[in-house]
């Protein structure tokens, strides 16, 4: 076989492609919105669940060193599982404030949920039609976002908070 440039190029191309396939098998193919980390949240106006005249927006969150925004619902089973971590975090009141946003739920059910399990939130907002969740890049319940006082997203927790993520958050807010 005569060795020529075109043959070498073809071989290199094939080897390259097969290597990419090989690597492709190893990486994690699942989609998540971890790419949001580093971006800023902005332009939101969240009404309090029991009082339509109360709301929070950007300025309120800038006052906090760290804020954890947690999307939850009374009909969501994993939300009950993660609730204890939220309660634990609520004890760190000086370092972190927790905002709960009640997603596609009824006021009565949400209030009962918090009465039964305890209320870890400094503020409970409502997102009855779900539109607010979209501006936070949420696509499932529960999901939580940790932001700093510049409103930059530092951590995204998709699904219920577990022990590992809870300790991560504790480390960050020290």
């Amino acid at each position: 076989m005569k060795i020529s440039i075109s043959k070498i190029i073809i071989f290199i191309f094939i080897i390259f492609s097969l290597s990419v396939f090989w690597l492709g098998l190893k990486i994690d193919n699942n989609y998540d919105t971890k790419s949001l980390i580093g971006s800023k949240i902005s332009n939101f106006h969240i009404t309090e669940i029991n009082n339509d005249n109360q709301y929070i927006s950007e300025e309120d969150l800038r006052k906090n060193k760290y804020t954890l925004i947690n999307f939850f619902a009374s009909w969501c089973a994993p939300c009950r599982v993660e609730h204890k971590y939220l309660l634990s975090l609520s004890n760190q009141n000086k370092k972190i404030k927790i905002i709960g946003i009640n997603f596609k739920d009824k006021k009565i059910n949400a209030n009962n949920f918090l009465k039964d399990l305890g209320n870890p939130y400094n503020f409970v907002g409502k997102d009855t039609d779900g539109k607010i969740s979209i501006s936070f890049g949420i696509y499932g319940i529960p999901e939580s976002i940790l932001v700093n006082n510049e409103l930059t997203v530092i951590k995204k927790i998709i699904g219920p908070i577990d022990q590992v993520q809870f300790e991560d958050v504790l480390k960050i807010i020290q």
């Binding site: 076989m1 073809i10 094939i14 396939f21 098998l25 990486i27």
Partner: protein, 628 residues
Amino acid sequence: MLSNIGVALVLLVLILSFLIIYYSSLELKTSSQSIRKNIYQLSLFQITFTVLSFFTLIIGFINSDFSLINVYENSHTAKPLFYKIAGTWGNHEGSLLLWVNILVIFSYLFLIFNHTHNKKFRLYTLVFQNILILGFLFFLLLNSNPFNSIYPVPVEGLGLNPILQDPALAIHPPLLYVGFVGCSIYFSAAMASLLSGYAGKLFAQSIKTWVKISWCFQTLGIIVGSIWAYYELGWGGFWFWDPVENASLLPWFAITALMHSLIVLEKRNTLYSWVIILCLSTFILSVTGTFLVRSGILNSVHTFASDPSRGIYILSFLSLMIFSALIIFFTKYKKENYNFNLKSRETFILANNWFMVFFLVTVLIGMLYPIFLDVLTNVKISVGPPFFNIVIIPLVIPLMFLMAIGPKFSWVKSQNRVFYKILFLILGAIIINLFIFYFFGKYSFLSNLIFIAAIFLILYSLLDIKKIFNKKNKFELPRIISHLSFGFLVFFIGINYQFSLEKDFNLKVGEIKETNNYEINFEEIKIKENKNYKAVIGNFKLTNLKSNLVQYLNPEIRIYSNPETLTYEAAIKTRVTSDLYLTMSNVSRSDYYNIKFQKKPFMIWIWISALMISLGGFMQLILKKNEN
């Protein structure tokens, strides 16, 4: 018991494959003109045991023998018999056994039907085909064995995915596999041709029938898959440029190009190297498609459950195939002199190949780019229908013009009389298009061109058919039918796309929605308990306000228990002029139901045109047989 029988049979096939390779290699060195009887006998045993092993698995499914893990994972005693049988190939391990069966069947048929051809060539083909068979047998035995057993034997199976319980989907894999596994035989034949030197016209004649068979079944398999998607998946579409669909399309473009180039190779004894490249590429593309879809590297709406170990094995096998094909091709490649006149049929066939390669490359790039980007830069993007539509559709326009006029050119050189006929028909096509444009609704400039090209192809082909009946020369008929049907396919898809109606809204029971001359009355909800699912059936009264025609549509939400799945069954009323399509799903935690109502013009004609394309291919096979 069945497990042991199955494994024993597969092992026998394995041993036979080794023996065939051994004896064929020995036979290559002898000088006799014909192949020893024992190779024929070994092949006969091989095909017998392979088919028996497949029947063993089928019996396992029919009897709901849950001692076989494969049956346990994919079947259930409550499944209707037809779907129990179809469950055999509706899963990864079973379909792999089907794959081996087709490899062996084609190996045997090629051996016995080609005795007029060169002995060395046939033996090499047998050797390479059996190497492929060994590769898949090792994969089956080591990684994906349908005969693995489980003890203690479970009492009930995990059930088959309810979406797969559909007649179209039951026959879709066997049809498709004859296509893209069938092309293995001309991969092996191409390797054999390079090594034995048996080239040119005679080589073309040896693989011609197999290329046509795989083309017909591949086309049919793809169409049946789309029909299933339309009737079962409930979104009203039939093609989503989904990785699994694309994986079946890649070999199709290659086989179409090959089928056309073979005509040139046979008639004018040229384009041999290009034909070899296409033969090698087709099966490589099939295995690449299988890799992409079964390894979990891509996600799709209808992948098999994925497993990384499969991916590693298939990738290794694919790499070996590609490298051996490349090395043998480069070693044996001889430069050819081409002798093409611009206005000749050969050039038009080259043009067909040019377009087919473009479409193939586009689909391949669209599938692979997200993988490359993710691996190299960790960025995830989607490449979906808009990409493929934007890049591919405009080029279908010149393709259709070429499809119409290309076959009219004679071999070597043509005269200019065709020119005025072309002009006249283009004008006719433009007029018909403008008629549609003004009386039925406006559409974009590009769409105008698509309609004009499609109508041109249709008119030209119809004139050709008229000529055939005048001259009583039937052998062009299959080709004209396929080309004509392609024109109709594009035309009807165009009309369907432009003039279909899609409405998405929420309704409560008892409410009425009026939209676009239709009144949709959500009369009631009924619950029905079936053998293996519970159905929530919506009763909708549709009134066409223009014609006062009343129809009832009953979409369903089905709740299956084994496995626990929710499916949405569309209510479809198929009529000659259009389909009415209604789906219903409930909005969580609310009394509302989300309703999607579609009116799709000429849907049934899309299926008919597509099936006619395949029919043209089958006609050609049968007509040629009668000629001989």
